[in-house]
């Protein structure tokens, strides 16, 4: 499983990445988490804003900080 956190870098993006990493750890997933910070790379996903989360190429959240529970649910569905 591949998870990308999109965001140029601010408190919201940092918190989102933290939530993702903790959700991955707590769910026992071996998902790879990557932070995408370059604006042109972020634009390729077609998101209206950041932070955003992409799991296996599917955008799951845009412009908000999902909770760990929400992220765990997405991970569980993808397993």
């Amino acid at each position: 499983m591949d998870i990308k956190v999109l965001g140029p870098g601010c408190a919201k993006c940092v918190q989102t990445e933290q939530n993702v990493k903790e959700a991955v750890a707590e769910s026992g997933s071996d998902a790879k988490v990557e932070k995408v910070t370059k604006v042109m790379d972020i634009a390729k996903y077609g998101v209206f804003g950041t932070p955003a989360i992409v799991i296996d190429g599917e955008v799951k959240s845009v412009g908000k900080i999902p909770t760990k529970d929400e992220i765990k649910q997405w991970i569980a569905v993808k397993k």
């Binding site: 140029p8 870098g9 601010c10 993006c13 077609g46 209206f48 804003g49 845009v62 412009g63």
Partner: protein, 147 residues
């Protein structure tokens, strides 16, 4: 978020032109209805998650509405240009009064407010510019343009 049908008629183009101008005037940000209709997850999820939206269809065929419904995006701030008293024709050049009427109706939805500047909007949530690094390098919008 501003979405318009941009169909092949005066009313479709009036919707498109209105959304372009409202974006340029700082009332919101035009987004990609085609991306939503094409099933691209970034556009669909963005439309689902955005707080405020105006969607303008040219006529009762309702292509923009149908695209959003198909993508399970809640419809908000919905307008139909022909319901503003503008007759549909095959003329692709909308009249100036018609475009202004559509813009006024979009503003009347209460979903739009004028942004003070780039990045200072609840519509984009882009956090570029919030970090010292981004600030010193200039604020970048989501297309890489720096100001």
């Amino acid at each position: 978020m501003l979405l318009a049908c941009s169909g092949g008629s005066n009313v479709g183009q009036a919707a498109n032109r209105a959304v372009v101008e409202l974006t340029q005037e700082g009332y919101g940000k035009m987004y990609c209805l085609a991306g939503i209709g094409g099933g691209l997850s970034g556009f669909i999820q963005s439309a689902r998650d955005v707080d405020r939206m105006v969607v303008i269809d040219g006529c009762p065929v309702g292509c923009a509405r149908a695209a959003l419904e198909r993508a399970d995006v809640p419809l908000r701030g919905y307008l139909v240009v022909t319901e503003l008293g503008i007759a549909k024709s095959s003329d692709l050049e909308p009249g100036r009064p018609e475009v202004e009427r559509v813009k006024a109706a979009a503003l009347d939805t209460g979903s739009l407010s004028q942004m003070r500047g780039k990045g200072d909007s609840t519509e984009t949530w882009c956090c570029s510019g919030d970090t010292p690094e981004a600030t010193s390098a200039g604020t970048q919008d989501e297309w890489g343009a720096t100001s």
